[in-house]
Subunit: 226 residues, 2 copies
DNA sequence: CGCCGTTTTGAGCCTAGTCAATGTACGTGG
DNA sequence: CCACGTACATTGACTAGGCTCAAAACGGCG
């Protein structure tokens, strides 16, 4: 997949039809196929056949929907261990792209019941992953519908700190400002201005034009969180 | 339940602990307990033990989250046939209230695996209901994050027409303006003004201060929908 | 060094929110 | 039967938070 351009769509994991691919990019697993995607590559698009669902091994995936005029809503960033792309119907209801370089495992949906038969715990993992996605979605609806720009950013930063940092204070954002904006229902200008303001008020540490963030005053951020 | 006031919380279906209740309000079923709630009654609150999950028999349930200062986001209206309130963790992550008079069936979560054993189709129904909730949530995030007030109202009206009317054109809204506002991330004033404007432009028919709606120009509404 | 993608900053505007008053429907009690 | 009270909905005037448009700054890379 690393040899393909960023705009192409993968309707199936490389190797599924015997395609010649770099050794490092795909690897057969007992139950799924490992895939490597580079920055910006599309994993699937809204409307594609939902033949596979996925688990993130490393890196970050953005899943999103578009309006006809191009407005975008990123409904989630999927990080290590997250499962996504499982659908009730036959088509994907959203698109998914690699935020940076990413490794995922693709599972064939038609083999879901077989996977569950083989591994009793797998079914629970799927159900729990789906329920956790729903919980995240519910929290995010509250954010999108009722929080101010400052509250949105505070919530986002605290969540990212929890999900991608060991000390829950210092971390590197995998995505750019436009991704954050389209996730929080804001514009890139508002995202940038809010970060600058947080830094000026001593809530966060922020190297100029960088994606590394340090949370200096988590208490104040939590105060903004609700 | 009909004898209780609107603000009380049900931590369990009446009858579960031998409470004396009106005959008409609860009825034991093979797999669950039928309950009747009157307008405004709380089924469960955020943080309550998620001992039961529910299926709507008739009427409409609103599920919502609150911020500390009282701002509310209604993440869904559950109508006939919808299943809701199943959680990954031990607590409910949102509150649920009857919009009008409602009948639901309460299923004990601890018996979920038994229910699935008994009825092979039940597990699929649960999984599908959960996935459909997730799809709805994703659509709704796009609405909340990226649609204008007019687009939000158009989407909402078309969705309600599909879900609670036979001809998909004439229907009675079960909820009041403040519920619509808190569902769409707007204020009641904006909801009211937008409806009035739609009526003036001939998109809908609207008896004054009434909840009955007729869609006159679905094409124009669909145009606003994306 | 210079280009390009990204981020930051500034100035002005607009959509939807706030505050306030009026209108309407309905149930209750005199 | 009507007067009143309450809950809900509509309408108006004004405000403000976040958006748009525009330009400058920064960083990485050939």
């Amino acid at each position: 997949m690393q040899v393909q351009t960023a705009s192409q769509t993968h309707k199936f994991p490389a190797g599924a039809f015997g395609l010649r691919t770099p050794v490092a990019s795909t690897r057969p697993l007992p139950h799924g196929t490992q895939m490597v995607l580079s920055k910006g590559e599309e994993l699937f698009a809204e409307g594609d056949d939902a033949e596979f669902f996925y688990e993130v091994v490393s890196g970050s995936i953005r899943s999103y929907k578009l309006l006809s005029d191009g407005r975008r809503q990123i409904d989630a960033f999927h990080l290590q261990g997250d499962i996504f792309g499982l659908e009730a119907g036959s088509e994907h209801r959203f698109s998914a792209e690699a935020v940076g370089d990413v490794t995922v495992i693709a599972y064939r949906r038609s083999r879901l019941s077989a996977l569950i038969q083989d591994d009793a715990g797998f079914g629970d993992r799927i159900m729990n992953a789906t329920l956790r996605s729903l919980e995240r979605a519910q929290d995010h609806m509250l954010l999108l519908g009722r929080k101010t720009a400052q509250e949105k950013m505070a919530t986002f930063l605290l969540d990212m700190a929890d999900r991608l940092s060991d000390d829950h204070e210092h971390f590197e954002l995998p995505m750019q400002r436009s991704d954050i904006a389209d996730h929080l229902g804001l514009t890139i200008e508002t995202v940038s201005r809010t970060l600058t303001q947080f830094a000026r008020n001593g809530l966060i540490e922020l190297l100029p034009a960088s994606r590394s963030i340090g949370l200096c005053n988590k208490l104040a951020l939590r105060g903004l969180n609700a």
